[in-house]
């Protein structure tokens, strides 16, 4: 029995947060479980730097941890985001209600383990198991506040996450069967060539798309991200959605599937940004921004599929987005916790991060876009550039709303000077978002950093931002807050469901959302109940048994069965 | 002790014991016990001797047929002799406490000894007339036992019984007359050696007569009230042993005396009657409210099982392994029915003593008060349902397998249905016993409860140790039933 092979750090990166999750269950720990959060991602961070791989042949169906370049890049980003988020949580949530905080910490560590796992996975089973962990455990982060909105969001999230799980697993199983093994590379090849490859790929896109926030499967995202506590939102938007992204990057085969991704990505990139403008809650606006940015990632990913190129640019764009978006979410918490000039500083920090997301010149965002656009055809390149306009509009709207929200909230007690643990993480993340992509440009297949300072490129980076600001100034509603019509609720497509619109009160929404297809389910249940009441009586089930037996007999005896090929005698069964 | 002596012990012992019981009065049960011990020893000797040397034949006074009386202990006979002595012993153990009043004692012990003696005589007789005499003696003692019942219906039941029995005797005797006319002999083997034009009619008459005595459907109407009305230990004897005498005679007649006169269609008719018994008896048992009536109807149904053998042993399958299986299966079924049915009736005897009733409603909760006997009842019921591990199962299995092997699956399916019916009608008393309310009961000695348990265990053991029974039954079996064996 081999415990593990390869780099022990690889296994540690996965086992360590799991162990911490168990520690968080220790009842005496209470809110001090928060101390564990920053520790969770340290081995993963180290691994991202050293780039080891390993495995444990006896675990699951042979655990393989072999991140590709995309995985390693995103692992590093994710580890940083979780580290920063953990520190922020330690600062923001300390001395809360013990049991609930401990539960939050446990879910946190478990979610991180999954998040690291999807980046590390070298086989489909490990990927799926990690994906499950990150999907389902994140539910614990969403519902932490136990408000009606949080519970609604949690419910919608859980339902969609489960559906996503199932789609993912089914797709993986079809592919793994064709591949006769679970190795990621083989699975990807089987998706391209194996029987039912298209079906499997479709299932994978659906399963991963739900997680990634791909339009139109993104509906949970604008509900869940704002509902979570600030550090939770940060990791949700920054890191957790990337579980879906990495899946698409490493699993989907080259081919025409990319076109679909590009189409959906474009719809998301522009549509979500525009819909975000209808929102008032800064965190909801950020959530729509995430959907929009993921749209761009999907476009990049789709292009790499169509042209059978490296997925690294898409990963790089996603990595930058993760850092910047996490910084933005944390800065929301920071702004609300700060007062006076500290608040102004915090807003400035948020503006900096926002500029990076929008791709303002010389920022990490610009570098990421540059890397991404390297392989794009012109029209797509233009489209990606144009997203800069919508992103700018949306993020400026975000800053406006953030300032308004903070102003409405007033200055917190204690003069408004935030603790180090509150301002440190967003600052570090913003810094990383601004700098890291620039530094890594060559390594990620992009042009030299000097590219960013060339005149045309500077202009190309700056005009969308300016255009966005200009548009916003032109179109901004005059006449103050009162003149604007009531904001639309988050959840866009979900709100089209009849009972969603009907139920004004959040609690009713929660119930309605949970019931989903209420009337249909009731009808089915009562029909089943009636049938069951009959079947329990032997009279009926006897008839049913006779009919089953007779029917089976008649059916299978009337014509010869198709002799299904089974493994020829003596052929070994290959097992992963 | 040689085979001859053993046979003499089994035939004369009970008769002498009956006389002794009459004379001994209060010590009647002791005399019976002595006779039973001697009988048991004799059965052991016979069994052993027969396995070593084959069937044991005795010519009384050295006279052979046609004038002399020939006795032969073949496998079938020894099996029934053994079953009888075991059941008698168990009944003795329970009845010793039951028949305390002088009148009942004076009737029961001599009658039971006579009944046993008659039964033994029927098993070993090779002569149609001797069989008749034995059967009459058996019937009359059985009637006397039924009349011992305390309930108001007992005399009525006994009367009905005797009328049916008389009718049966007459019809049978008519057949015997025809046989004698045709063959000039009543010895089974000599009848088999020749043929006569009257054989078919004789066979029909004798069969009908014996069917009445065996309570084969649709001639069973007398049995349930008689067996339900008799004192319970007597019911055990009546239900377990008495109908088997008629059955054995039928088997001897059909397969040993007149194998030529039994066409497949006739054999099928017998089996059809058996099937009718299984279904009708089972359904009627389902409708009863009193335990002993359920058991009595169960006897009707179980007797039907035995007749399914006819088309399997005779007819197209004769001489094959299937026939041998059906033969052995049926006889094992008869033995295990004897043991198990005696067990359940003895349980009923104990319960009636304890709570004074055998209504199902009154039995509720007895499992808590008398667990041993309830367990015995359950085990015996399992055997009667034909569920493993029990003699009843082996029997059903062998017969069913024979029916499938011989391409007559219908009869096997009837057995299966009968098993289900048995489960259904035994379920009701079992469920009642298991119900929550423990009734007030008079204390019953544990040892007494162990008696039916021993019988039930014997029935179960028959399932595990059926190979010796099979070997035994092959000894002296008619050629049709002596398959080569798989």
């Amino acid at each position: 029995m081999t415990v593990f092979t390869g780099d022990p750090l690889a296994l540690l990166a996965l086992v360590w947060p799991l162990a911490l999750a168990l520690v968080a269950c220790w009842p005496r720990l209470g809110w001090r479980a928060l101390d564990l959060l920053p520790l969770a991602s340290l081995p993963a961070l180290a691994l991202a730097v050293t780039g080891g791989s390993g495995g444990a042949p006896d675990v699951l169906l042979g655990l393989v941890l072999a991140p590709g370049p995309e995985g390693r890049l995103l692992l590093g980003m994710v580890a940083v985001v979780w580290l920063a988020g953990g520190l922020f949580a330690r600062g923001a949530m300390a001395r809360g209600e013990g049991g609930r905080i401990a539960a939050f910490s446990g879910f946190w560590c478990l979610t991180f383990a999954g998040n690291a796992g999807v980046m590390l996975a070298g086989d489909a089973i490990t990927f799926y198991a990690s994906f499950t962990a990150v999907s389902l455990a994140a539910w614990g982060l969403v519902i932490h506040d136990r408000t009606a909105a949080a519970l609604t969001a949690g419910r919608v999230y859980l339902v969609l996450a489960l559906v996503g799980e199932v789609c993912l697993l089914m797709g993986l199983l079809i592919a793994a069967t064709a591949a006769d093994g679970f190795a990621i590379g083989a699975v990807r090849a089987a998706l391209a060539e194996g029987p039912h490859g298209a079906l499997a790929a479709g299932l994978l896109v659906a399963g991963l798309g739900i997680k990634a926030g791909m339009v139109p499967l993104h509906v949970w995202l604008p509900l869940a991200h704002p509902a979570a506590p600030v550090p939770g939102s940060a990791v949700l938007s920054g890191a957790i959605v990337k579980a879906g992204v990495i899946g698409m990057l490493i699993l989907l085969p080259d081919g025409d599937l990319g076109i679909a991704l590009i189409a959906l990505g474009l719809v998301g990139a522009f549509g979500a940004a525009l819909w975000g403008l209808t929102q008032e809650n800064p965190k909801a606006i950020l959530a729509y921004s995430t959907v929009s940015q993921i749209g761009i990632v999907l476009v990049l990913a789709g292009v790499s599929l169509v042209f059978a190129e490296t997925r690294l640019p898409a990963a790089a764009y996603a990595a930058h987005h993760g850092l910047a978006k996490a910084a933005l979410f944390l800065s929301v918490g920071l702004v609300l916790a700060a007062g006076g000039r500290w608040r102004a500083g915090a807003l400035a920090l948020a503006a900096l991060a926002a500029a990076s997301v929008a791709g303002a010149p010389a920022t990490g965002g610009a570098a990421a876009k540059a890397i991404g656009k390297a392989g794009l055809p012109d029209w797509l390149s233009g489209a990606v550039t144009a997203t800069g306009i919508t992103t700018t509009i949306l993020l400026v709207w975000f800053l406006v709303r953030l300032r308004a929200t903070a102003a409405a909230k007033g200055v917190p007690k204690g003069g408004g000077r935030p603790r180090l643990l509150l301002w440190g993480p967003p600052v570090v993340l913003t810094g990383a978002a601004l700098v890291a992509p620039v530094l890594l440009m060559p390594a990620l297949g992009g042009p030299d950093p000097a590219y960013l300072w060339q005149g045309t490129n500077l202009v190309e980076a700056i005009w969308p931002v300016l255009a966005g600001i200009g548009l916003l100034v032109l179109l901004a509603p005059r006449g103050g807050e009162g003149a604007r019509r009531a904001p639309l609720p988050p959840g866009d497509l979900l709100t089209l469901l009849p009972h969603w619109r009907r139920g004004a009160a959040p609690v009713r929404q929660a119930r309605a959302a949970g019931r989903g297809l209420g009337p249909l389910r009731r009808t089915l249940e009562s029909a089943a109940g009636r049938a069951e009441a009959r079947l329990v009586r032997w009279r009926w089930s006897g008839v049913a048994m006779a009919l089953t037996i007779g029917g089976l007999a008649l059916l299978s005896a009337s014509e010869p069965g198709v002799a299904v090929l089974i493994a020829p005698a003596g052929a070994p069964i290959s097992l992963p | 002790m040689t085979g001859e002596v053993a046979l003499a012990v089994l035939l004369l012992g009970p008769l002498l014991a009956a006389l002794g019981c009459l004379l001994a009065g209060r010590q009647g049960s002791t005399v019976a016990l002595l006779a039973l011990i001697a009988g048991a020893a004799a059965v052991v000797v016979l069994w052993d001797g027969m396995l070593r040397t084959g069937p044991i034949e005795v010519r009384l006074g050295g006279w052979g047929a046609p004038l002399g009386i020939v006795l032969r202990a073949d496998g079938l006979a020894v099996g029934f002799l053994a079953a009888a002595v075991v059941v008698m012993g168990a009944v003795w153990a329970v009845a010793r406490h039951d028949f305390a009043t002088p009148r009942a004692r004076d009737v029961f012990w001599p009658s039971s000894m006579l009944l046993w003696g008659a039964l033994n005589a029927i098993m070993v007789s090779r002569d149609l007339f001797n069989l008749y005499v034995g059967l009459e003696l058996l019937t009359l003692t059985a009637v006397a036992m039924v009349a011992l019942g305390r309930g108001p219906g007992a005399i009525e039941a006994a009367l009905r019984y005797v009328l049916y029995a008389l009718m049966g005797s007459l019809v049978y005797l008519l057949g015997v007359v025809l046989v004698y006319h045709g063959h000039g002999t009543l010895d089974l083997d000599r009848i088999a050696a020749g043929r006569s034009g009257a054989d078919a009619l004789a066979l029909g008459l004798m069969t009908a007569g014996l069917a009445i005595k065996t309570a084969l459907f649709p001639f069973h109407a007398w049995l349930p009230p008689a067996h339900a009305g008799a004192p319970s230990p007597a019911s055990a004897l009546l239900s377990a042993l008495v109908p088997k005498a008629g059955f054995v005679m039928l088997v001897r007649l059909w397969f040993e005396a007149m194998p030529d006169a039994t066409p497949p269609a006739a054999l099928a008719v017998m089996a059809a009657l058996g099937a009718g018994a299984i279904l009708h008896g089972g359904l009627m048992a389902l409708r009863q409210e009193r335990l002993k009536q359920i058991l009595a109807y169960s006897t009707v149904a179980q007797l039907g099982y035995l007749f399914v053998m006819f088309p399997l042993v005779g007819g197209a399958g004769a001489g094959t392994a299937g026939a041998a299986e059906a033969w052995a299966g049926t006889q094992i079924g008869a033995f295990s029915h004897a043991l198990a049915k005696a067990a359940v009736f003895l349980c009923a005897a104990l319960w009636i003593r304890a709570i004074g009733s055998d209504r199902l409603a009154d039995l509720a909760g007895l499992a808590r008060a008398m667990p041993l006997s309830c367990f015995a009842f359950g085990m015996a019921a399992v055997s009667l349902m034909g569920l493993p591990p029990s003699g009843g199962f082996i029997a059903k299995y062998l017969v069913m397998r024979a029916s499938f092997e011989l391409g007559l699956p219908g009869w096997g399916l009837v057995l299966a249905a009968g098993g289900l019916l048995a489960a259904a009608y035994f379920y009701r008393p079992l469920a009642a016993l298991f119900a929550r309310e423990p009734p007030r009961v008079q204390r019953t000695p544990r040892l007494l409860e162990a008696v039916p348990l021993a019988l039930a265990l014997a029935a179960a053991a028959l399932g595990v140790l059926s190979q010796p029974a099979y070997d035994l039954l092959q000894a002296g079996a008619p050629a049709y039933a002596r398959g080569i064996g798989p």
């Binding site: 198991a129 039912h196 006897g542 069965g561 | 798989p486």
Partner: protein, 495 residues
């Protein structure tokens, strides 16, 4: 070595025989006897596993009548089942001893309990069809008093419906066995009969009879009506019933019939694989839908069993190496997960008086270990990695694709979602909802008085929960149930 199967059988048969006659007050003797039997049995099973792993297949034979031998024989398939039952029997015995304490009628209970396990063991170790049937019936009979143990109206009704279903099923099986033996002679699992001379109709009907009869025990829809009612039995019984004994016996029988009698190839040739898969799928979905509607915890679990056990049948019906492995391994996985759930359900009932779903609110605070075990079981049932149920699901899914039955994937997916739909709300209530203020359950137990300080009940639940995690986490190890199932399937797919 040949006597080993018999000795293993006796380790539960003898305690059963003795326990029946122990006076009620002899708690120490009775407990010692049962525990001792269970421990010895587990030890012997381990020895047997070692032997079988080395290729020895011990066989003991008791001739009953010509062509009717009772044969006890250990091969790898039987060991899979025997080891499961031996392991779970030990834990259930511990649990049952704590559960009942010094309640009345224990001699009867433990007698039948051991008998039930003896029947399961015998059934697993059966070498011939008829031996299988003998123990199959013994199982029916010994379970009846267990289901009726409480002797209230509900239990008696449940026991009645159990028999009402089980016996016709048994008859169907018996007819099938005898029919088959009438055609091809005695059937032993070690040497599958040559069916080439038998006509299609007969074979088809025999197969249908087998599946119909065994399906009653395996609770295949529409033959499952007895199972939800049987949850009226005491918790240890439900645990054993759902995890090891009755339901599994049916599924095990179907596996035997398909692999060791008909052979996969012939089942496919007769065109019976797909219909069987359809039946199993219907059962999976129907059981889940019904579970969703139940508001009583044990009933919900019972319907869940209906659904889950058919995974085994499904795997068998898929008739490919992976499907086989998935079905076989689920035999074990479902057992350890479901027994965990029933252990916990018993704990909730005993310690908190909670029987209905809504009474579970907040119990995680007072009974964290129980609730943790319960959560593991529930998540395993949904098929979340790394718990055992996940491994089964993966293999079944791959098996389905291998056999070209893609629709089975949809069934598995739907079942996963339904499982989540009826298990996750339970976890939500246990862990996240505030406790109910008044006492809960039939006998009000104040929330503050609820505790789980009964190691005899909690430890078995924890152990099975841990086992189900380990079985999934270390599935690729050669010693896992998966490893063993792979070994068996290797045998089924090579000459």
């Amino acid at each position: 070595m040949n006597a080993l199967p018999v000795v293993i059988l006796l380790t539960s048969l003898l305690p059963a025989a003795v326990t029946f006659f122990l006076p009620q007050e002899q708690h120490a003797w009775r407990n010692g006897l049962n525990l001792g039997g269970a421990v010895i049995k587990l030890g012997l099973v381990v020895v047997l596993m070692g032997a079988v792993a080395e290729g020895i297949e011990p066989e003991a034979r008791l001739p009953l009548a010509p062509g009717l031998d009772l044969v006890l024989r250990a091969d790898d398939l039987s060991l899979l089942f025997v080891s499961l039952s031996a392991f779970l029997w030990l834990l259930t015995t511990v649990y049952a001893i704590s559960y009942f304490g010094e309640k009345p009628e224990l001699s009867r209970f433990f007698g039948f309990f051991s008998l039930c396990v003896a029947a399961t063991t015998g059934l697993a170790l059966s070498g011939t069809l008829i031996t299988f049937f003998v123990f199959f019936e013994l199982l029916t009979l010994s379970t009846w008093p267990l289901v009726a143990h409480k002797q209230d109206d509900q239990s008696l009704a449940a026991a009645r419906s159990y028999v009402l279903y089980a016996l016709p099923g048994s008859v169907a099986v018996l007819v099938a066995i005898i029919w088959l033996e009438g055609l091809v002679g005695t059937v032993a699992f070690a040497a599958p009969p040559d069916l080439s001379g038998v006509d299609r109709w007969s074979l088809t009907l025999i197969f249908v009879l087998f599946v119909g009869g065994l399906g009653v025990k395996a609770a295949i829809v529409p033959l499952h009506g007895w199972l939800p009612g049987a949850m009226a039995a005491p918790a240890p019984v439900s645990s054993l019933l759902h995890a090891v004994a009755v339901v599994k016996a049916g599924a095990f029988g179907i596996v035997r019939v398909v692999y060791d009698i008909f052979g996969v190839a012939r089942v496919q040739e007769l065109g019976l694989g797909t219909p069987l898969a359809v039946v199993a799928s219907v059962t999976i979905l129907w059981g889940s839908v019904r579970a969703l509607q139940q508001m009583e915890l044990k009933k919900r679990l019972a319907y869940s069993t209906v659904s889950q056990v058919s995974y085994i049948v499904l795997g068998t019906a898929l008739a490919g190496p992976f499907g086989t492995i998935g079905g076989l391994v689920h035999l074990v996985h479902q057992g350890i997960m479901k027994i965990t759930l029933f252990f916990c359900a018993g704990l909730y009932d005993e310690r908190a008086g909670a029987r209905r779903i809504e009474q579970l609110d907040g119990l995680g605070q007072r009974m964290p270990w129980t609730s943790a075990a319960f959560s593991v079981g529930a998540m395993g049932m949904i098929g979340l990695p790394p718990i055992a149920g996940f491994v089964s699901k993966v293999y079944l899914g791959v098996g389905a694709v291998q056999s070209g039955e893609l629709w089975v994937l949809a069934v598995l997916g739907a079942s996963t979602l339904l499982n989540a739909a009826y298990f996750l709300p339970l976890l939500w209530r246990i862990w996240f909802l505030p406790p109910q203020t008044e006492g809960i359950g039939a006998t009000p137990i104040p929330f503050a008085a609820v505790d789980e300080r009964v190691p005899g009940l909690v430890v078995p639940a924890m152990l099975t929960a841990l086992t189900s995690v380990a079985a999934g986490l270390f599935a690729a190890s050669a010693f896992s149930p998966l490893g063993w199932a792979t070994l068996i399937a290797g045998g089924a797919y090579s000459p």
